[in-house]
Symmetry: C3
Subunit: 142 residues, 3 copies
């Protein structure tokens, strides 16, 4: 058995603020590498968009998540010194800190070991952004 | 030197909601693989239970953590559209997002490099759940 | 191609509470290992200091982050049972849980794939601490 690595950049097109399910393109990329057992790492190259693993079934979950983060980290310019790019600038950084910039997931039988209800999401925190870049790294063996 | 991988599923029995220290079974599993240097990844296969690294000494810390998350993400059905499985359903998803689904820790001399006060915990967010599954992946060399 | 591992401990000297940019010493360490493609893992060996990836440009971001966490997790002893080491003891644990203990980042062409605006920070949550230890692990090939 020989270890192999694969590394790529994936551009994610989103409809804007909120959660975009990126499970399918990530699974396709992993499948295309032809490795059976290994470790997949996903890295988000931004400080105003992040990653999260969430329930992939009920759409109401995504609306509740959006509402929760609006309340926890309000887009209220009066609270922040840093607002170079508008009222969603600093909240975007804070929401990124509270969620994930990186996730690593074991791969078994050629597939990341997500649980039945787990989906991988890009969490866009800015208005007016609709292209983000994530790096995919896979280390494993055939 | 040759790299080797080990992959397993660990079922965690918990007393229910709150933090369960899983450091001991994880250390036992790592020791059993016989690898000296490497990287251990722990993945929680749920969206209503999570992982966290916390102080392993004072029991009061765990009570304070529980209280903090009850206040930050209240089990108040009026706040959430998604409550298919009761008032702890949506808070469980949000608490999972704010903590960890995955942790990767370097292994040196056959042991994960936890600091003196660090313990690894499964954080159960639902009532009535008492079995959870984590995946352990170890990549390393003898 | 042969996979190789490197493992080290880095002592971080900080001016105390708040964010300390540790990108430069981490990049120097990675460059010194001479590996082109791989995966870098950074592990913080404490439960009252953490890691985070944040905007590396505007200093106002760091002040806003400090203020946000002071409000979200107040240093108010009346709220916590655990205060063995003072009013910043329990808030330090909670702030650690809400941010990161570990980050893994792919390495390409000998460099972690940070985005243009991303910096890696040690987030010190205690007063009176100014030395922290992180473990660096790199797995990759020349």
């Amino acid at each position: 058995m020989t270890m192999r690595q694969a590394l790529d950049r994936l551009t994610i097109e989103t409809p804007g603020k909120g959660l975009t399910n990126i499970t399918a393109p990530v699974l396709r990329w992993v499948a295309a590498q032809g490795l059976q057992t290994g470790l997949l790492t996903v890295w988000c190259r931004h400080t105003s968009a992040s990653l999260t693993v969430q329930e992939n079934a009920a759409p109401a979950v995504r609306a509740d998540i959006a509402r929760f983060f609006e309340a926890l980290v309000p887009e209220d310019a009066a609270r922040y010194a840093h607002d170079d790019e508008g009222p969603d600038d600093m909240p975007a950084h804070l929401r990124t800190m509270l969620t994930d910039t990186q996730l690593s997931i074991p791969v078994a039988e050629g597939r990341p070991v997500f649980g039945t209800w787990q989906g991988l999401y890009l969490f866009e925190h800015r208005r007016g952004e609709n292209r983000r870049e994530v790096v995919l790294h896979l280390l494993g063996e055939i």
